[in-house]
C-alpha cells in the first residue's frame, strides 16, 4: 500500500464515522411514518397506533405495518422483495425503500411531519 492509499482509506472511514455520528445525534424515536410513492406523499401515520396500510401503485402493491412503534413492510408484490426483508425501523430518518415501486417509507419526527421534504 502506498501512502496515498492509507490517506484515502482514513479519509473515507473518517467521513463514514462523521456521517454516522451526524445522523445518530439527530435521530430519535420518530413520531410519524411517511409513505411516499413516486414522489407523492400517500400517508402520514402516527407510530403510536398499530395499523396496516396498503398502497396501490401502477406497478403493484405494498402493505406496511405499524406495530409497537416499529414500521415494517409486511408484504409487497415487487420482484426483489428487498423491502420486505428489510429490518423494521423506528428512528427518525430511517427508511425502507421499494425501488421497483418507487416507494419510500420513512420515519419523521413530530415537527418535521408538517413539512414536505421531498425533492424534485
Amino acid at each position: 500500500m502506498k501512502k496515498a492509499d492509507k490517506i484515502l482509506i482514513l479519509v473515507l472511514l473518517f467521513l463514514a464515522v462523521g456521517f454516522a455520528v451526524f445522523f445518530f445525534l439527530r435521530a430519535d424515536v420518530g413520531g410519524y411514518v411517511r409513505i411516499t410513492a413516486d414522489g407523492e406523499v400517500k400517508a402520514e401515520l402516527p407510530l403510536s397506533e398499530d395499523t396496516l396500510f396498503r398502497v396501490e401503485t401502477d406497478t403493484g402493491y405494498n402493505i406496511i405495518t405499524v406495530q409497537d412503534g416499529y414500521v415494517s413492510m409486511q408484504e409487497a408484490d415487487c420482484r426483489d422483495q428487498i423491502c420486505v426483508e428489510h429490518k423494521k425501523i423506528h428512528l427518525t430518518g430511517e427508511t425502507i425503500v421499494c425501488l421497483p415501486h418507487k416507494l419510500v417509507v420513512e420515519i419523521v419526527g413530530e415537527k418535521e411531519a408538517e413539512f414536505d421534504m421531498v425533492v424534485g
Binding site: 482509506i9 445522523f23 428489510h86 419510500v104 421534504m117 424534485g120
Partner: protein, 163 residues
C-alpha cells in the same frame, strides 16, 4: 483488434458475469439497501490493470447488460449501470495519477459504486433521505475494496507470469 485481445475480452466478460452470479448466491444480511460485496469488481479491477480502461469500460457494460438480461431483470439495470460506470470512472482517474496502488484504486471503486447506486436510487424515488445509509455504505465499501484489491493483486501476479 487482435485475436488474443478478442479472447481476453470474452474471457473477462464471462468471468465478470459469473462473479455477479456467484454473488447473488451468497446470502448476505441485508442491513442496508444497495449493500453489495461487489465480487464482479474484482474482474473489472484486474482488467483495468491487465488490459486498459477502455477494455474495463466495455467489459463492465457487457456485464451489467447481460447480468440484467439473465438474472436480475431490467428494472435494476439503471442502478447497476450507474454504480458500475461511476466506480470505473473514479478508478481510472485514480490509476492515472499513479499515486495510488491497486488497493487504493479498488477501495475508491467499491465506495463510488455504492455512492453511484444510492444517488440514482435517491433520484428515482425522489427522496434524498436515502443518504441516511451513506455511512454504512462507505464503511462497507472500504472493507470490500481492500479485500478486492488484495485478491486482484494476487491474481495479476499469476496472470503476468502465465499469459
Amino acid at each position: 483488434m487482435q485475436g488474443k485481445q478478442v479472447a481476453y475480452y470474452g474471457l473477462f466478460a464471462a468471468l465478470a458475469i459469473l462473479m455477479g452470479y456467484v454473488e447473488m448466491l451468497i446470502p448476505i444480511p441485508l442491513l442496508v439497501p444497495g449493500m453489495k460485496l461487489g465480487l464482479a469488481n474484482v474482474i473489472v479491477v484486474i482488467v483495468l490493470y491487465f488490459m486498459d480502461a477502455r477494455a474495463a469500460f466495455f467489459i463492465s457494460l457487457v456485464r451489467v447488460l447481460l447480468s440484467g438480461l439473465l438474472f436480475a431483470g431490467f428494472a435494476g439495470l439503471l442502478y447497476s449501470l450507474a454504480g458500475a460506470l461511476f466506480s470505473l470512472g473514479v478508478m481510472t482517474l485514480l490509476k492515472k495519477t499513479d499515486k495510488f496502488s491497486i488497493i487504493g484504486v479498488s477501495v475508491a471503486g467499491g465506495v463510488f459504486h455504492n455512492i453511484g447506486q444510492i444517488l440514482v436510487a435517491a433520484l428515482v424515488v425522489e427522496n434524498i433521505k436515502l443518504m441516511y445509509y451513506l455511512p454504512f455504505l462507505l464503511f462497507f465499501g472500504v472493507a470490500t475494496g481492500i479485500i478486492i484489491g488484495v485478491v486482484a493483486r494476487m491474481t495479476l501476479g499469476y496472470l503476468n507470469r502465465r499469459l
